[in-house]
């Protein structure tokens, strides 16, 4: 699969990363390199092998349904640029 500059711009936009044309060209090279690596790996015969979703072959540990986190709003909100009445403030979002 070959990528082009518009693909790179679109991927960057989806990830909310701002890149200029020079960076886009560099990124195109890097991503194309990764894709060709994947193409190489696709030559391996994987018929009959169950795909793994995680590199470790272990299963999820579960947590009991018990409240363990108490209210630390004041601490967390010290990091926020703007708060009001307990709300984090962000530039206006209109749906």
């Amino acid at each position: 699969m070959a990528l082009n500059i518009p693909d790179i711009k679109r991927i960057a936009h989806l990830a909310r990363i701002e890149i200029d044309d020079a960076e886009a060209a560099q990124t195109l090279d890097k991503l194309s390199g990764i894709l060709s690596l994947i193409e190489e790996m696709q030559a391996v015969d994987t018929a009959g092998i169950t795909p793994m979703s995680h590199s470790q072959d272990v299963v999820q540990r579960l947590r009991d349904d018990v409240v363990t986190k108490d209210n630390q709003r004041d601490v967390f909100q010290q990091n926020a640029p703007a708060v009001d009445s307990g709300l984090y403030l962000v530039p206006k979002v209109i749906e």
Binding site: R10, H13, L14, A15, R16, S53, H54, Q56, V58, V59, Q60, R61, L62, R63, D64, D65, V66, V67, T68, K69, N71, Q72, R73, F76, Q77, A82, D84, S85, G86, L87, Y88, L89, V90, P91, K92, V93, I94, E95
Partner: protein, 481 residues
């Protein structure tokens, strides 16, 4: 041309856990903003999700209730999008391997003027676990939006159907059935005002008789059955008219405005559907073993269908009564409690669906608010069954009980409602009535049935309504023969 509407539903069911799906912060509704937004909920760097055992149990319960495949291994995935109420920049959901696979729900579509009631099986495509987002509050501060992350990370089960429904009525019936079921098995409180049960409805139309699906539009976030009915009706009509006017339907996400009764497309988000799902490396595969399933199955209550069948065989209820009693777990529990306290089952069914239900509807209450406890109702039914009072007198007692007086016997005493079943006393009254109404006797003997009823009425009146009507009938018949 005749058109057919095709409907599928996606329902977000908020699971009734004490804590969030991936962290031990409380999910209690109505807390002060952000007081339940812990480090994981606000996505501080370095935090990791740890899956809630109870959320998994809820999903498995649902799977068992709809006879679905439960995946022995399922996988959590990241659904990537940017919105201020989603501080991680992705929602943890399930994509390729959901915990619950194909199942089915049988619905009973009620009769209408045009059509008799009928049953239909709605296919469940899948159900998957995911986390809810936070809430945006607009208008509090000029030019800014407020973000409350208390809801962020609340466990949801998203239940997706096949495009199996063919009318707004079928869709609403399915939604109501699902709403009762998730409450019945105790995985959701069903509170639609608080957003615990939210439906997205996919609607498309096609010429009747054709197989290919039309382009669908998705009506988002319906939180009332009435709005769902209206939204589907409007949307269906809109799509048909658009096509008949030579237009085409574009796939879109739309909102229903309850004030105008219309649907409208949301501002189309550029590339909104490119969520770039991938397995979440922070979470390992979720395993559900046969032992887990057996343990969870053992915790499940008897399901409505099974209970309905049991009521028909055990209590000789009609299919209709049994279905009506088992539409909600609370009603079924109340009925069973009444019967266990000694109330006759048939009478109990009649009173629960009749007097109690009418009162509750009139006062916009549900059965758990009933001022008459099941035990008290059972005592009232016993007094009907042992002929202490007539059915009519019982209604009188019931009114008094509804006001909070639970002492059935003293109400009967105080109101003087005790039924007269003493044969001698009734005979004496009948004799008096006959002596006073020779004309009616003549009419009756001439073949006028009405005259007989009038004589019964006279006797009941003479007894001030306390005579046992069956006995009055029998004695009158005997004396007139």
């Amino acid at each position: 041309m005749e058109w057919e509407v095709v409907i599928g539903l996606e329902t977000h069911v908020q699971l009734q856990t004490k804590t969030k799906i991936f962290t031990g912060a409380s999910t209690a509704y109505g807390a002060e903003p952000n007081t339940q937004a812990c480090d994981v909920s606000i996505a501080l760097p370095g935090v990791l999700p740890v899956l809630n055992k109870e959320a998994v149990a809820c999903a498995v319960k649902f799977g068992l209730a709809v006879d679905a495949e439960i995946a022995p291994r399922s996988v959590f995935a990241r659904k990537n999008y940017f919105y201020p109420d989603l501080p991680k920049g992705y929602q943890i959901s399930q994509f390729e391997l959901p915990v619950v696979g194909k199942g089915e729900i049988t619905i009973q579509v009620p009769e209408t003027k045009k059509q008799a009631a009928y049953e239909k099986v709605v296919g469940i495509t899948r159900a998957h676990l995911e986390e809810d987002a936070g809430k945006s509050v607009h208008g509090a501060v000029d030019g800014m939006s407020g973000i409350d992350l208390n809801r962020a990370g609340t466990p949801l089960l998203e239940i997706v159907t096949e495009p199996d429904m063919r009318s707004a009525a079928e869709a609403v019936t399915y939604a109501k059935k699902l709403h009762e079921l998730v409450q019945w098995i105790g995985i959701c409180d069903g509170n639609m005002q608080e957003g615990s049960f939210r439906c997205d409805v996919n609607v498309s139309v096609r010429p009747k008789g054709t197989q290919a699906l039309g382009t669908r539009r998705e009506i988002k976030n319906l939180n009332s059955f009435k709005f769902m009915q209206q939204a589907i009706a409007y949307e269906t009509q809109w799509q048909i008219e658009t096509i008949e006017d030579g237009g085409t339907i574009e796939q879109a996400t739309i909102l229903f405005n309850p004030d105008t009764g219309e649907t409208r497309a949301m501002r189309s988000k550029e590339e909104a559907n490119d969520y770039r799902y991938f397995p979440d490396p922070d979470l390992l595969p979720l395993e559900v073993t046969e032992e887990d399933k057996a343990r969870i199955q053992a915790e499940m209550p008897e399901l409505p269908e099974a209970m309905k069948a049991r009521f028909e065989s055990e209590y000789a209820l009609s299919a209709y009564d049994a279905a009506a009693i088992t539409t909600s777990r609370a009603v079924a529990d109340y009925f069973v409690e009444t019967v266990n306290a000694g109330g006759d089952a048939k009478l109990a069914a009649n009173w629960v669906m009749g007097g109690i239900s009418a009162k509750l509807n009139a006062e916009d209450k549900i059965i758990t608010d009933s001022p008459i406890e099941a035990k008290a109702l059972a005592l009232l039914l016993k007094r009907i069954a042992d002929n202490t009072i007539s059915n009519n007198a019982a209604k009188n007692v019931f009114e008094e009980m509804w006001l909070g007086n639970a002492d059935v016997d003293s109400i009967i005493e105080a109101k003087g409602l005790k039924q007269v079943s003493d044969t001698g006393a009734i005979e004496a009254m009948v004799d008096e009535v006959l002596a006073a109404n020779p004309k009616m006797i003549e009419e009756y003997k001439a073949g006028k049935e009405k005259a007989f009823n009038a004589l019964v009425g006279q006797t009941m009146k003479a007894s001030k309504g306390k005579a046992n009507p069956a006995q009055v009938n029998a004695i009158l018949k005997e004396k007139l023969s």
